[in-house]
């Protein structure tokens, strides 16, 4: 798939299907412990989970840049199952001619304080002893954010060990998390803008107050820069440590102001179970804790800057962090 218009149509179709399938009611049911089976079957049926497989394997042959809008959309809809993770995992495995069991939901289980969606997946991709490993798994430990995540996984049968991998799964995990965060933050911005127009105080909409406008401007800045950073992590043939580091660091930093501002403008109602905002901000907070914090990735990025021996930071940005350098 190379044509931009085709890709745009594909993404549009996917967004429509997500809007129909992943309603806030469905998200809540799964958070409350319902079986993920029927939603997963519907998502699997859309075919998008194979979007990054080559056309010879009945995929759509999307590269990372073309798949990025799908991940963003999954974040925007707070898909409570590892759709984006499975799509990326299948592509990584297919590169090594490993075909995964039909219908398998796969989490990306890079080293992490918690694994999002571990409670609703039967398979995991790991970096283990220098190898890329596909295993059967189940959730272990706590679901800290009521998102069906887990602080760990029980590793079961090893299903494939197709290639060497130092931290390839960690990079994929962090890149996908950064893009899902960017997507969820996009939705949070839309909800906050709409609430600011609807909600009246002192006889006029909140959005007419300068103090609120200034905060919404900052919200937009943070969301846009997290989106651009995540897009850059999806620009190359594979996930590059430097671009992923910048993307996850930036997403984590942005997430703090985005959640603070969104909840401040919504007031207490935004945190209630019946209001949808918290479906998105809880996930954003979960991803902040998953696959490395801003300090973890900042340290790696700082060391990469020094190791590159670039004359200037502008050179480093151009050679290692530009869309065009991928």
């Amino acid at each position: 798939m190379s044509d931009d218009t085709d890709t745009a149509l594909l993404v549009e179709g996917f967004r429509r299907q997500l809007a129909a399938l992943v309603t806030p009611a469905v998200i809540r049911e799964i958070e409350d412990g319902a079986s993920p089976q029927s939603l997963w079957a519907s998502l699997d049926e859309t075919g998008f989970v194979d979007a990054m497989l080559p056309e010879s394997l009945d995929g759509a042959g999307l590269d990372l840049a073309q798949a990025f809008p799908l991940v963003l959309a999954a974040g925007e809809h707070a898909v409570p199952l590892p759709f984006a993770e499975t799509m990326v995992a299948r592509a990584m495995l297919a590169q090594h001619n490993v075909l995964v069991p039909a219908g398998a939901a796969i989490v990306l289980a890079g080293r992490s304080a918690l694994i999002p969606c571990a409670g609703v997946a039967g398979h995991a991709l790991l970096d283990r002893d220098g190898q890329l490993v596909l295993v059967a798994c189940s959730a272990a430990g706590s679901d800290l954010f009521r998102t069906r995540s887990a602080t760990g996984i029980h590793v079961g049968e090893t299903l494939a060990t197709p290639a060497a991998s130092d931290d390839g799964v960690l990079l994929a995990s962090a890149a996908v998390a950064a893009a899902l965060m960017a997507g969820a933050m996009t939705r949070v911005m839309e909800m906050t803008l709409s609430h600011a127009s609807d909600r009246q105080q002192f006889g006029r909409p909140l959005g007419k107050f300068q103090a609120i406008q200034q905060q919404l401007a900052v919200l937009a800045e943070q969301v846009l820069s997290a989106q651009v950073a995540a897009r850059t992590a999806f620009a190359g043939r594979g996930f590059d440590a430097t671009r992923v580091a910048a993307a996850k660091c930036r997403a984590n930093e942005a997430a703090t102001s985005v959640c603070n501002i969104a909840h401040a403008i919504h007031g207490a109602i935004g945190a209630t179970a019946e209001f949808d905002l918290q479906l998105y901000t809880r996930r954003i907070k979960q991803w902040q804790l998953a696959f490395g914090s801003e300090s973890y990735w900042a340290e790696r990025l700082g060391r990469a800057r020094i190791a590159a021996r670039a004359d200037t930071t502008a050179d480093f940005l151009r050679l290692h962090l530009a869309t065009g350098s991928a």
Binding site: L193, K208, A322, G324
Partner: protein
Amino acid sequence: MTLNLNNFPPATIPDHAEALRSDVKAFIAEQLAGVPPHIRARTWSGFDANFSRAMARRGWIGLTVPVEYGGAGLDAFARFVLVEELLAAGAPVAAHWIGDRQSAPLLLHYGTEAQRRDLLPRICNGELFFCIGMSEPNSGSDLASVRTRAERVAGGWLLNGQKIWTTYAHKSHYMIALVRTSGTSDDRQKGLSQFLIDLSLPGITVRPIMIGTGDTDFNEVFFEDVLLPDDALVGTEGNGWAQVNAELAFERSGPERIYSSLVLLDLWARLLGDTPDPLDAGRLGRFVARLAPLREMSVAMTALLAKGEHPITEAALFKDMGTEIEQQIPVEIADAVAQRLDGPHDPELLQTLAYLMQLNHVFSLRGGTREILRGMIARGLGLR
């Protein structure tokens, strides 16, 4: 309108523009050999007419001006490459900066053919330096309230009033000023026009303003019955506000809004050595993580400018974030340096740091304050 990723479509600097980079690097290496970082840290505040003329001899002023007017006839991407290299190295570009960035594009777009033929070749060959007359003592962020006035008289216009904070007016040949030509301050954006003012005319007094650092880049400029010729009007009478706004995307979208503290950052990074401690590596990495998407946005806006678009809201968003990191770099490096009470403290690093610590708080003022920019973003989000 709302703001989303489509406002910053992914863009790559084309090869024809990248081809310029190695020549620029070589030129800078030769011109700036031996210039210490605390001087280079002045970057686009550093005025050096000889440097600007050396650039003109290479054909690098007015890069986007058509060849028939003395320019290089290249596109916005080529200018991005040139400017990025100049700023990253801390080249003293102030002498030709305004003319190159704003005045030449303005004249090209709104000027008469005679103005273009007269002025553009002299901007491009480094003969004419420009300044901008916007702020007045009672008109800061509220620019539409300007009171300097030009009245039609026989043979031209009679100018009276005062401008302030006019960077390098004392070393410039021309000012392009926003003044009132009809109505009063109450008419706001209506009745404003742009004028090309030859600063050698009788009735003009330029008085320097010294700031706390001892620098005198700023000036007050007084106009007392200055007789401007007919052809001093730029563009259309009464259209000044729209013309000024068209300049803003040029003024706010470039690398100068993210690289003002880069010389300091790179000096500090070099001194960290090959094995920085985790805290310093993290500080460096956070700067890089914040700069990376901003540079992407700047390249994306360059592509939009090259297509003739005016990404004004996007530029406001970019500049607000860019100046924030320019301000934050000296703050966090000061924190890192002074965390070590007993040093070692590199003298050149301290001097460069101190220079920027005394100026970083004003980085968010020049070219539109934070609050004005955020108001523009709010408008872009449909809130006003």
